[in-house]
């Protein structure tokens, strides 16, 4: 890789971390003009920037407003680069079906996890919020998902998470999926009790855990 190319990717990553949407778009256009590898620009530039933003979030340097601004910059850059990806670079990704469980409409946490999962190379199917347990199972089967990610902020709706797992077990397909849970009232012990495969306390950790668990699962 030329030093100019390397430098450009670093600048892309920095622009995402700096929440600078206009600069990110400008740099992404430079990547195209200079005919650099778009896949690498996404991975070493945009995704790297979002990953650094996620770390800053974990370190309590960044909070949700900053993460949202970083993700806006990242997605704006992605819009520019994506049409230029070569077909063989659009390899099939692990799919995640994500959503907020029925009875709850708080989706900021789910949206952050979605961003971090996409940054980590997952294809995310976002069902949205207030989603019945059955809909998670149906969609996961339909798209051949590897991960089902369930979110809730409400204590009243936590049981819906257990219901998703019960439904998977009833259909004897529990082992086909990694089930991850998260949200304000959720804890590792709750995840253990309902038989979920993973719990993460924040979006950055959730993406790392999903990568690990998605590779471990025997399909």
């Amino acid at each position: 890789m030329s030093s100019d190319q390397k430098e450009l990717f670093v600048q892309l990553s920095d622009a995402v971390v700096d929440m600078d949407e206009a600069r990110t778009v400008e740099l992404a256009q430079d990547v195209i003009t200079k005919n650099y590898d778009t896949y690498e620009a996404i991975e070493k530039g945009l995704a790297d920037g979002m990953d650094r933003a996620g770390k800053l979030f974990e370190e309590e340097e960044y909070f949700i407003p900053e993460l949202l601004m970083c993700s806006d910059a990242m997605y704006a850059g992605l819009e520019v680069l994506k049409p230029h990806l070569k077909v063989d670079q659009q390899a099939e990704k692990f799919k995640v079906v994500i959503g907020v469980i029925e009875g709850d409409t708080h989706d900021i946490g789910k949206n952050l996890v979605k961003i971090m999962l996409e940054t980590s190379g997952f294809e995310v199917i976002d069902l949205g919020r207030d989603i019945p347990p059955q809909a998670f199972v149906a969609k996961a089967k339909e798209v051949g998902a590897r991960v089902i990610a369930l979110s809730t902020l409400m204590t009243t709706t936590m049981d819906g998470m257990a219901e998703v797992i019960r439904l998977l077990e009833a259909e004897k397909i529990r082992k086909k999926f990694v089930v991850m849970v998260g949200g304000g009232p959720i804890s590792q012990s709750f995840a253990d009790r309902i038989g979920a495969d993973g719990y993460a306390k924040d979006a950055a950790e959730a993406a790392r855990l999903a990568q690990k668990l998605a590779l471990e699962i025997a399909v």
């Binding site: 309590e60 900053e66 601004m69 409409t105 009243t156 304000g184 009232p185």
Partner: protein
């Protein structure tokens, strides 16, 4: 000394014969355990007050809340869409505004015209007359920052912190007035404490600096307006707020109620002698899922961590889910009743 005297002295950080104890909110728990959804109770102020009063007889919380779980009616009154649930509180389906330009169309007087909200005020009056001499009757609403998120969309509000600060301030002004317009008639009806819950101001969501700039000035404003009406004020913020505890007294609040993610010893160290402190058993991990002896242990730990300062209220860290066993609540109350102080 009767419960009401104990809680008032505690809020004033005066010495009391025993530890003060109360539920935070509890509306969903109160009605759901009796087989009612929150919608079932709408427009029935007598039934509303009666069930809360009967629950008080069973539980003996020093503070009793009316209108808990119904905060989002204020958004509905202004034209927002909310969805009622069999269990739990109604939630907001989408932000009230599509764009900032629509903010001038918000007619706050619609709150006073809303019959369901009127019925909550009536319930407050009945309840205050019924048990207001024994316990401290209170009501609540979301704080300005959380309401601003409901009005404008929480993600849009957060992006606007960077993209359009003036928009944030504009929405916060309306949110603060909305908060007051909803609460003021509760005070007229006889409630003596107001709880302001501002979960979106949590350290899990925004930074200390953002809290200082976008939350604190509006909390100060609403607290001052409520104090003018002669009530006590308590602020509750969910999640971890350790890094902004020292800023809270600037709001002028009488009480801060902290969630289970805050270390009470730390909170006592920072706030002791400045404002009263309430908290903070885990609502799910302890109040719902633990056994009675475990609840007692958790309560004792909270009391022990705040030992030595007047002005501590034993309270769950947040509102409790509908599945919390009565026995666990009673264990909490009894633990406080059995902890003699002076």
């Amino acid at each position: 000394m009767i419960a009401k005297e104990i809680i008032i002295k505690t809020i004033r950080r005066e010495e009391t014969p025993r530890v003060a104890v109360a539920l935070l909110s509890g509306g969903v728990w109160t009605f759901n355990r009796r087989g009612y959804s929150l919608r079932d109770i709408l427009g029935k102020p007598e039934l509303n007050a009666q069930i809360i009063s009967e629950t008080y007889d069973e539980v003996q919380s020093d503070m009793v809340w009316v209108g808990s779980g119904y905060h989002n009616l204020a958004i509905r009154a202004l034209g927002g869409k909310i969805k009622f649930r069999t269990k739990g509180a109604p939630d907001i389906q989408e932000p009230l505004l599509n764009s900032l330009a629509e903010i001038g169309g918000i007619r706050l007087e619609r709150i006073k015209e809303d019959q369901d909200i009127q019925s909550l005020w009536q319930a407050a009056e009945i309840l205050s007359q019924k048990i207001g001499s024994q316990a401290l009757v209170g009501s609540s609403q979301w704080g300005p920052f959380t309401l601003a998120g409901h009005i404008y969309g929480i993600e849009k509000l957060m992006r606007s912190i960077y993209k359009d600060r003036q928009a944030v301030f504009t929405v916060l002004e309306v949110a603060t007035e909305l908060c007051y317009q909803y609460l003021e008639p509760f005070i007229t009806a006889g409630v003596e404490i107001i709880s302001i819950a501002d979960p979106s101001a949590s350290g899990d969501l925004i930074s200390r600096e953002q809290f200082r700039e976008f939350v604190l000035p509006y909390l100060r404003k609403i607290v001052a307006k409520l104090h003018q009406k002669g009530v006590f004020v308590s602020i509750h913020i969910c999640g971890n707020i350790t890094n902004r505890l020292d800023l809270i007294p600037e709001s002028g609040t009488d009480v801060l109620s902290v969630d289970y993610k805050v270390d009470l010893s730390k909170a006592k160290e920072i706030l002791g002698g400045k404002i009263a402190l309430a908290g903070n058993m885990n609502p799910v991990g302890i109040m719902q899922n633990a056994t009675v002896p475990e609840v007692i242990d958790a309560c004792r730990e909270c009391i022990q961590k705040t030992n030595g300062i007047p002005g501590y209220i034993l309270m769950p860290g947040c509102d409790i889910p509908p599945g919390v066993p009565l026995a666990n609540i009673q264990a909490m109350i009894e633990t406080a009743h059995n902890t003699k102080l002076h």
